[in-house]
């Protein structure tokens, strides 16, 4: 970070008056929340989506690993054999019933890590307030992405344009399992509407912030504060 740290001032009896008056001219960092939102971190844990392959097939194979690993016991899955003439997923079985109870879910993302086919990922949407208990239970109808690969917009969910993108940020970030040789390489299947998504560059520096939506909230918000008060996080 460039620049010297802000100079420490000793406050005399009237020093407080000068400081408070200077604050009047300083820019505000407050975001007027319901009207505006701060950008969300790409790995934020919001509500889940059930992804589909690029050809429209569902990724879920009904293995119930997500339900098994869930510490809040909020996922209920029942698998069924694929009908041979019209298969729902590639392979033998598919998720016939898939329900997540959002009154119990703690958004730990263990289901995402357990999933062998990257079928369940978490979006960045957490601003939903249902008014009865049955709305809290999301079924396949709400969870599976639509024909464009976008999450379904439910009436009680507050979205802004762009917030429904990057639905698999956390999965893509954790996929290399910390192995350096896999850093920056895609090891996941394509998604309906997006194709194979770019990876986070990690520490190698091969990052593509626009493609991954990887922006530092601290940098964006910190730049609004003048350097005198310890702002300008980005090395400008």
């Amino acid at each position: 970070m460039a620049g010297k740290p802000p100079k420490k001032r000793s406050l005399g009896f009237f020093g407080g008056f000068a400081v408070t008056l200077q604050q009047v001219a300083e820019p505000r960092v407050t975001t007027p929340y319901p009207a505006e939102k701060v950008a969300k971190p790409p790995r934020l844990h919001g509500r889940h989506v059930l992804n589909r392959y690029e050809d429209g097939m569902e990724k879920c194979i009904g293995c119930e690993l997500c339900a098994a690993v869930c510490p809040a016991d909020c996922i209920y899955v029942r698998g069924l054999d694929n009908p041979p003439d019209a298969p729902v997923s590639p392979g033998e079985r598919y998720g016939f019933v898939y329900e997540i109870n959002y009154l119990r879910c703690i958004h730990c993302d263990l289901c995402v890590e357990a999933c062998p086919t990257e079928a369940i990922t978490e979006s960045k949407m957490f601003e939903f307030s249902f008014t009865n208990r049955s709305d809290a239970i999301y079924t396949k109808q709400e969870l599976v992405v639509d024909d464009d690969g976008l999450p379904r917009h439910l009436p009680w969910e507050d979205w802004r344009p762009g917030e429904d993108e990057h639905t698999s940020g956390w999965m893509r970030a954790t996929s290399p399992s910390g192995a350096v040789e896999y850093e920056g390489t895609e090891q996941w299947s394509g998604e309906l509407g997006y194709g194979v998504r770019a990876s986070e560059g990690g520490q190698s520096g091969k990052r593509n912030d626009v493609a991954t939506g990887n922006i530092s909230i601290r940098a964006v918000e910190g730049d609004k504060i003048s350097r005198r008060f310890g702002g300008k996080v980005r090395g400008t």
Binding site: G16, F17, T20, L21, Q23, V24, E26, R28, T30, P32
Partner: protein, 404 residues
Amino acid sequence: MPDPLFAHGVDLGAVIVVVVKVIVAFSVLLVSVMLAIWFERKVISDMQNRVGPNRAGPYGILQTLADGIKLFFKEDLLPDQADRFVFKLAPYLALLPALLIFTIVPVGGVVTIAHHVVELQVADPAMGILFLLALSSVSVYGTMLAGWSSGSKYPLLGSIRASAQMISYEAAMGLVVAMVIIVTHSLSTRTIVDSQAASFLHWNIFRLGILPFPLFLVAVTAELNRPPFDLAEGEQELVGGFHTEYSSVRFAMFYLAEFMNTITMSAVMVTLFFGGPDGPGFHFLRWLWPIVWFAGKTVVFLYVYVWIRAALPRLRYDQLMGVGWKVLIPFSLGWLLVVAAFRVSTIWGLAVFAGSAVAASGLWQAIRVGQARREALEEGSLGWRAQTAADAHLRAVPEPDGGG
């Protein structure tokens, strides 16, 4: 000088004028309290790098209205242990003085309406500024009785603090008011304002030599229980202070009284020291300019109050009493003597000034010596040196037996 409105006796027109003045003053004061609370919250959020209320109305200007409506619909609790009558009486005792003090403040010049000479202030009694001192004493009762009648410990302690503080600072405030009376030869607020009207060098702040004004400002801030003297409602140690047990409309009345007092006292300061409605006027709308000047000056002081609140940390209780008794009262008393002596002759004035300076330095020295002695005494009884010496015998290990 009596009110010129009643120069020809009391007729119907005069009565109508008085009623209209009362109604206008009351409603304007209530609306301005609403705006003052919003103003304070907005300004202090400016100074603390926040946004402040911004949801109700444009720039949150209706926030106070929303808060008021909320308070009116809340449950009105009456504690079991409370003295019911006094508990219900106290909010009115707090609110009424705030309303009444404003009646003697001249908000504008003198206009003639249908052959009636009307001073733009609700009342111009001959006792004038004494009314202010009397009513600010009454408002102590509101605070004191509220705390006492709540039947609870925190309010009681808060009210004891508040009333002690208000009574202490009233002395300094009264002395400064006495200085104003000495230079203007009148108790009437209208005459006080008129005597400052020639140019801004005639404002009392300059005529009295500037120093009394800061004394008055500090005394009034303490009198209003405003930060940094808001010890009556220290959240850390006293919860809400004297109005802890109050809720709903009764709490709203305390809150209203607090801010109404702030406005009223700003207006009083403008009246006593800054020429009231005095200021350059223009030929059109001749009656309007004094009112504009008065309002502008009052808003400046409201801003100053908020600024003080934002800038200064709270005083400890003993510091508060120390400032009141050891600084404000001696200073204002000395300055009162100097002002009075200058009225007699310049030589007397200079002599008394020199005498006061000597007395002040003597007092200062006495306070310092006293403080040093007390610290030495505390060091002697509680200091670690004395303590370890006194405890030496406890730590002495008994000699093991020689086994002879």
